[in-house]
Amino acid sequence: MTARIGVVTFPGSLDDRDALRAVQVAGGEPVALWHGDHDLKKVDAVVLPGGFSYGDYLRCGAIARFAAVMTEVIAAANRGLPVLGICNGFQVLCESHLLPGALIRNSGLHFTCVDQRLRVESTTTSWTAEYAAGSEIVIPVKNGEGQYVADDRTLDELEAEGRVVFRYIGANPNGSRRDIAGICNETRNVVGLMPHPEHAIDALTGPGTDGLGMFVSALKALVAQ
């Protein structure tokens, strides 16, 4: 018994194959979803992968939120479907107002690709139950527009409600407010983060296997239901 996790391919998605692979390695059934279809193929969870959807020539994720598949993703997320947005996927979730705040140009003004230390701040989301609270993990971060910003009231709310899911440790790679690397929605089924857990599922091709826990978390919860 396992669960089906869909990965959306927008035109310009780049890490979609990696996300499908991560689902498989974690023991799930990966399902490819197409941006132009009003069809989630009865999946149990959705990943919005990294990349440059539609070239991101406007604001990152600003066009992707209007894709046909996003109508279904937004509706399903509001019904409680677990949704994970990675990098460009996080940007799409913010543009879709499933998550608060926005991602702007890195403070250093360069695209940056590094193995990043993170602290898992919340383990009570659909995607982080496998981690120990407060544990440190290393997964790659790679983006040009990954600086998380929101007004202070929103940031205070996120902190107060325990909705900061990941925080950068050591050097903050992009100038994100309060070192925030990832957040979740109020119902904790929608998680967005800039770092790439799908690139840390095998020590052969990544800095380690610390990212696998996110996919395993979702699968275990889904199978247990």
Binding site: L14, R21, G50, T112, L204
Partner: protein, 757 residues
């Protein structure tokens, strides 16, 4: 908008043609009129000028490049290393086993990158990626070899920032991992940076595509981006002439890249290939449609009729001359059987790619072989034999003369320079070299590149070679390296080309891979200068001889001439890429020290070879003498040893000894994971630490494996010295000095961010 018909050209032979302004010589123009039996139309003249440019026709280099074929080593007829497609196509294709074929190639985009660094570099990546795609392959990784002027030259910061952002911006957005390359600084490149981009792709051996238009009646489909006025005449204006102070006026000749469109184009093309919907394919790069139509027709032995007015335009006011020479990016030309056209157009539409039938393949008429006939709203504006554009351009035996200064340059040995001898002075020299622009950490550059995308990267910077796995179901992978050394090539172009080859070959071997093929990018000054042509002739001869000695063929490459400002040419800079095969990527060998207590060995036989070295250049600003001797036979044995050691999983790390000598190899191996070393050296400590004798490597292994390693080294007839052990937080040399890793790292890491951050 005006244009001229063939009929008009026939009726008005007396009208003067601006051929000289388009870069054609008197005798070249005469040859065109004799091929056509009349004077060319304005559109034809533009096509000949771009197709007969140095960049497209290889007219000065062809006679020398033939050696890569005539001296090519024997390759297996089948299995790993078999050459499935040789030179002459967009890129060569090599069998790497398990049903995989790999194609790779490096190309220059030097002049566009000087004029407009971001777009020049970006479209350099885009162009080489399309070359790889055109062979039927999925592009799987890129590399870049960058050379800039002196770090204190006022223009260097603009170029470094723009070029690195351009390489990253395009490759990152395309979703291709950047897995390695090189960055160098030297005043010889002031005003003429070198931007060489490499791409590698993989395909099933039965999916190879060729750039051929065959079968009369087959349709010609143009797909991808619309055609605009960008890049008109880029190959003749930018790539085939020397630069001067008016260069910024050439900015409109630089193309503008759109990686998003290219990403979609890649996925669309791969679907067309997989479904067998195209019979021939060519990308539109230098010379645009002029090149794609004439090359496919010529190579297919066919004619072609093109209705040029069907080409979708960004600007409707473009003339046929502009349409046929535009170098707008992200376009492809496919030859499609009539029955498949609807399916091709539907596939393109699904991917959101604009596709248009613009013509068809034709056969021979009664009285003449296939012609390339181009019409504009029904008027014939071009009617030429396609081979006269693509394959029968002028070929020159340019005069050759050894540079007058060559003898004096070689006589000026570094032996007269003062050498450090005390522990303190040696320590300072190690630190200064570690922080020097040419040897310091490349992280500031490489962190701007995505090395993780596609999830198959098993080695990337700062390891000696980049390596990727070919797919999830097989352990098979490839390793790649890209190297050059303009100073060595200046001192001796024959040896310099071999040294670049040897370094690239050695780097691939360090990963444990078996080298199988070579690509090259030959960056030189003006071919009209006999002294530059001598350098070119020597370098190509050296490279061909070197490939023969190492037993791996050249499968493709690129020549970039006119790299000079005014009368001063750059140091001749052959950049060489080597492809290796890793049977099992889990056995790849990384470069940095990994385990405390491992035994450190240095393989090879050092001699006093410091002419042209980083030490001579960085510490004394000296360039003279003769470069290290290429030791190709020893390189081959070192490579075979490394392959064997990888197979038996004997070695924990391997880092070649090259720029900066043993000292810098130890610095890099220590800094990578913060694991120090304590070593003892024999003989003259300065020579031991800084000589750049080739065919050497620093390797580490566990105590239990030392005997086996030494046995294999003895069997390979390779010299070896036991240096010491890994461990601790310092790099110490017995009796001479000790350097805390954190101090080394600070020196090593700070340079580029401080200069360019």
């Amino acid at each position: 908008m005006t244009y001229e018909t063939v009929e008009h050209a026939q009726q008005h032979p007396e009208l003067e043609q601006p051929y000289a302004e388009l870069g054609l010589k008197d005798d070249e123009y005469e040859r065109i009129t004799s091929i056509l039996g009349r004077r060319p139309t304005d559109t034809e003249l533009a096509m000949y000028s771009v197709m007969w440019s140095e960049h497209c026709s290889y007219k000065s280099s062809k006679v020398h490049l033939r050696q890569f074929g005539s001296k090519a080593p024997a390759t297996p007829s089948h299995g790993v290393g078999a050459l499935l497609v040789g030179m002459g196509e967009n890129a060569g294709v090599v069998d790497v086993g398990d049903g995989f074929a790999v194609t790779f190639k490096v190309e220059s985009h030097n002049h566009p990158s000087y004029v407009e660094p971001y777009q020049g570099a970006a479209t350099g990546v885009g162009g080489i990626v399309r070359d790889i795609l055109t062979m039927g392959a999925r592009p799987i990784a890129v590399m870049d070899s960058l050379r800039f002027g002196a770090v204190d030259n006022p223009d260097t910061k603009r170029l470094v920032g723009g070029v690195v952002a351009g390489v990253g911006g395009y490759g990152n957005c395309l979703g291709l991992p950047n897995i390695g390359g090189e960055v160098a600084f030297d005043p010889t490149y002031n005003g003429n940076p070198l931007v060489n981009a490499l791409c590698v792709g993989v395909m099933p051996t039965d999916r190879i595509q060729l750039a051929r238009a065959e079968g009369a009646g087959n349709q010609v489909v143009l797909f991808g981006a619309k055609t605009g006025r960008d890049g008109i005449g880029g190959v003749s204006v930018l790539a085939s002439a020397t630069f001067d102070e008016t260069s910024s006026a050439k900015r409109p000749s630089v193309q503008v890249g759109d990686p998003f469109t290219e990403k979609i184009l890649i996925e669309c093309c791969l679907e067309l290939f997989d479904r067998g919907l195209v019979t021939g394919i060519q990308d539109l790069g230098g010379a645009g449609l002029s090149c794609a139509t004439s090359e496919t027709a010529s190579h297919g032995g066919s004619g072609m009729r093109i209705a040029l007015d069907r080409v979708p335009l960004r600007e409707p006011s473009m003339s046929p001359l502009e349409v046929i020479t535009s170098e707008s990016q992200e376009r492809m030309l496919a030859i499609v059987q009539p029955d498949d056209v609807a399916e091709v157009l539907a596939t393109c539409e699904r991917w959101g790619v604009l596709a248009t039938v613009i013509g068809e393949v034709t056969g021979d008429d009664d009285d003449r072989v296939g012609r390339l006939v181009i019409t504009w709203h029904g008027d014939v504006v071009v009617d030429v034999p396609p081979a006269s554009l693509a394959d029968e351009g002028p070929v020159y035996e340019r005069p050759i003369q050894q540079p007058r200064e060559q003898v004096a340059l070689q006589a000026d040995s570094s032996a007269r320079l003062s050498r450090p001898s005390s522990g303190h002075d040696l320590r300072e020299t190690v630190l200064r070299l570690a922080a020097s622009p040419n040897l310091c950490s490349r992280r500031w550059v490489t962190e701007q590149y995505d090395r993780y995308v596609l999830g198959a990267t098993v080695l990337a910077m700062p390891h000696d070679a980049g390596a990727v796995r070919l797919d999830d179901r097989h352990a098979r992978g490839i390793a790649l390296a890209l190297d050059g050394n303009g100073r060595f090539a200046r001192l001796d172009p024959y040896a310099g080309a071999q040294l670049a080859l040897a370094e690239s070959y050695r780097n691939v071997s360090m990963a444990g891979a078996r080298p199988v093929a070579v690509t090259n990018c030959l960056n030189f000054g003006s071919p009209e200068d006999p002294e530059v042509m001598w350098q070119f002739a020597e370098a190509t001869r050296g490279l061909a001889d070197g490939c023969l000695a190492l037993g791996i063929p050249v499968t493709g490459g690129n020549v970039s001439f006119y790299n000079q400002t005014g009368a001063t040419a750059i140091n001749p800079t052959p950049v060489v890429g080597v492809l290796g095969v890793l049977e099992d990527v889990t056995r790849r060998i990384p470069s940095g020290f990994r385990s405390e207590g491992d035994v450190i060995l240095v393989v090879g036989d050092p001699a006093d070879e410091l002419d042209g070295s980083e030490w001579a250049w960085t510490i004394h600003g000296h360039l003279g003498g003769t470069p290290p001797t290429p030791r190709l036979d020893a390189e081959r044995r070192l490579s075979e040893f490394m392959q064997r050691a990888a197979e038996e999983s004997l070695i924990n790390s391997a880092h070649d000894v090259s720029d900066g000598g043993l000292a810098h190899a130890l610095v890099e191996a220590s800094v990578m994971h913060g694991i120090g070393a304590q070593v003892g050296i024999a003989g003259d400590p300065f020579v031991a630490l800084f000589t750049e004798t080739t065919a050497r490597a620093v390797i580490t292994c566990a105590d239990a494996d030392v005997d086996r390693v030494l046995t294999l080294l003895a069997e390979a007839d390779l010299g070896v010295a036991r240096l010491g052990r890994c461990g601790g937080a310092e790099l110490g040399v017995d009796g001479l000095f000790s350097l805390p890793i954190h101090e080394l790292r600070t020196a090593y890491d700070a340079t580029l961010p401080t200069l360019f951050g």
